[in-house]
């Protein structure tokens, strides 16, 4: 174990301290709340109750869903754009450049590299002769643009910060207001980034791809999306997330900096759902949040239920009672440190096994149609079990499936928590025997004058 730790620690160190990876991870965090709110609007427009649309239409009139869809479209159909902005900002923060200028330059270089003049096409697919218009295309600023956004934000802002540090800036005389001086300071670095984007655009116009973004989608994004939707990749991710915890390391914080493909799949799933098309993916974020882990990482809700119901150690029972309500909302910090899970080899085994079992079973359950695919509706991860399954898929069968997995989790956790329970009981008995007094320490009649 110690040897393994020596191999894993430097790896985790690189993943958590590398500034580019931090920026990528945090860049997604910036758009997360917007995607959740957008999802809620879409969920209202498509609430999973039969007759919902007709019932609301009778009050608000036909076409009411368009109001809600306008909000959802503005969030998740713009995930690429939001990623360029968020990651650009985080990159500038990590590399100590002007943050808002960094975000802006990432966005502008992103726009330079995509088609912005389009030919008009009729609904039938027929091209309208001579009808050309300019604008941003949701196909390019949406989830299909996420990888390109990451490239523009990381390389663009890195170059921007590099030029800043080299002092390639126009310096204003003293007395010029700071806002004016800052905007001039950003002039040369911005010109450099935009100039490079300009050249890249020209180079790609001579290739079969036509645009850099189409190149990125073809050679990078599409293959990675395929890989990201496989059981193998997700099983490895699930394993690493829980395994790192065993050494006290926040696994998701390490892994999310490289395994962010779930964000792309989720956004694309939502767009397909909104359009009423077949749902393309299994491994979306709601899938991993709501069918793999109940009660937080390690699927510890099962553990907490056992702590309350079958454990006999006073400590474990008490901690279980305190943790059960937070547990239903996916919060397990009290037991991570209080039981503890961290550095505890006995609990490590089910802590790794249960999420893995949930992942594999839910994958096959989805594949075989026992539960429907998640719609991509991105609910907060604190949504309680039962509700989350129903809202994420639109089917009550998914709720039943969640409860089924919770019960299976009880069975796996049982022998391990009983082992720990017996150990703690023995310790409690030993402590009671050793001290002549109660093992509870009371501060009530403490004499402070003795000090």
């Amino acid at each position: 174990m110690d040897k393994l730790e020596k191999i894993l620690m430097p790896m985790a160190d690189v993943l958590t301290k590398n500034r580019v990876l931090i920026a990528i991870r945090d860049g997604f965090l910036i758009s997360t709340p917007l995607l959740i709110v957008g999802s809620v609007f879409l969920l209202i427009a498509n609430f999973p109750i039969p007759g919902w649309d007709a019932a609301v239409s009778s009050v608000l009139g036909a076409g009411w869903t368009d109001w809600f869809k306008a909000v959802s479209r503005a969030s998740f159909n713009c995930t690429g754009l939001l990623t360029a902005l968020g990651t650009g900002y985080a990159m500038a923060r990590e590399f100590k450049a002007d943050k808002i200028q960094g975000a802006a330059v990432a966005l502008v270089s992103y726009f330079i590299l995509m088609p912005t003049i389009h030919t008009a096409v009729r609904d039938s697919g027929e091209v309208v002769e001579d009808a050309i218009f300019a604008g941003l295309d949701f196909d390019y600023i949406g989830p299909n643009g996420i990888f390109m956004a990451l490239i523009c934000a990381t390389l663009g802002v890195w170059l921007f910060a590099f030029a800043y540090k080299k002092g390639w800036t126009i310096k204003m005389p003293k007395g010029v207001p700071p806002a004016v001086a800052d905007s001039f300071a950003a002039l040369v670095p911005s010109a450099l980034v935009m100039g490079v984007a300009f050249l890249v655009r020209i180079v790609f116009s001579f290739t079969e791809f036509g645009y850099f973004q189409d190149f990125v989608v073809a050679i990078l994004q599409t293959p990675l999306e395929g890989l990201g939707d496989t059981l193998g990749a997700n099983a490895l991710y699930s394993f690493m997330c829980t395994f790192f915890w065993f050494f006290g390391i926040n696994g998701p914080a390490v892994c999310n900096s490289v395994f962010f493909i779930g964000n792309v799949l989720t956004a694309k799933q939502l767009i397909a759902f909104e359009a009423g098309e077949a749902l393309p993916y299994i491994f979306t974020n709601p899938f991993s949040n709501f069918f793999c882990n109940f009660g937080g990482g390690g699927s510890t809700l099962s553990l907490v239920i056992l702590m309350v119901t079958v454990c006999k150690s006073e400590r474990i029972k008490q901690l279980g009672k305190l943790s059960i309500v937070p547990g239903f909302f996916g919060i397990n910090e009290p037991i991570i440190f209080g039981l503890p899970v961290v550095l505890n080899p006995v609990i490590a085994i089910p802590f790794i096994l249960v999420p893995m079992m949930n992942l594999i079973l839910s994958y096959f359950a989805t594949l075989w149609g026992i539960i429907p695919r998640t719609t991509g509706v991105n609910l907060p991860w604190t949504t309680p079990i039962g509700f989350s399954g129903w809202l994420a898929t639109g089917s009550w069968r998914a709720s039943v499936w969640q409860i089924f997995l919770l019960v299976l989790g009880l069975m796996i956790y049982y022998p391990f928590i009983r082992t720990l329970d017996k150990k703690y009981l023995a310790e409690e008995a030993a402590a009671a025997n050793e001290s002549s007094e109660e093992d509870d320490i009371s501060f009530d009649d403490l004499d402070l004058d003795n000090l």
Partner: protein, 173 residues
Amino acid sequence: MKVMMIFDQTQAGLGGKESPDLPMGGKAMGIGSCEMFTRFLDQQGGKVIATLYCGDGTFLAEPELNAKKFAAMAKKFNPDVVICGPCFNYANYGIMAAKSAEAISELTNIPAFAIMSQECEKAIETYKDKVTILKMPKKGGIGLNESLSAMCEYAKMLVDKKDTAEFLEKHAY
């Protein structure tokens, strides 16, 4: 080596951020997160004879009095050393631990120290010149095993009255 621990509600296994109002109490044994470092303590021939705990909110309502209470209880149990922590990046717990370690060192003959991550800036800034504060990672950070091992090693060095200057150079703030 008889060790006494001072924990907040989370490390004691008596709650989380939602229960800062946990009253002061204790158990005549190792509880909660002690399980994380039992093996390192074993290596040093140490055993937790008592764990004192207090919600961070309860403590900070009357820090002077509560630190004194911890000191009085330490005197009563007379351990060889008192460890205030590990606090991770729980900032209020950091203050409680450093303040308690200071009171115990001043008011009793029992050596005491605190251990927390660099995020507990206020506690480190205020107390690092008054009490020993060892380094450790934040929650979920890298190097927890190493720092807990160092914590137990340092406790043993204090009890054996060894020269700690070189050790502290590397492991303390």
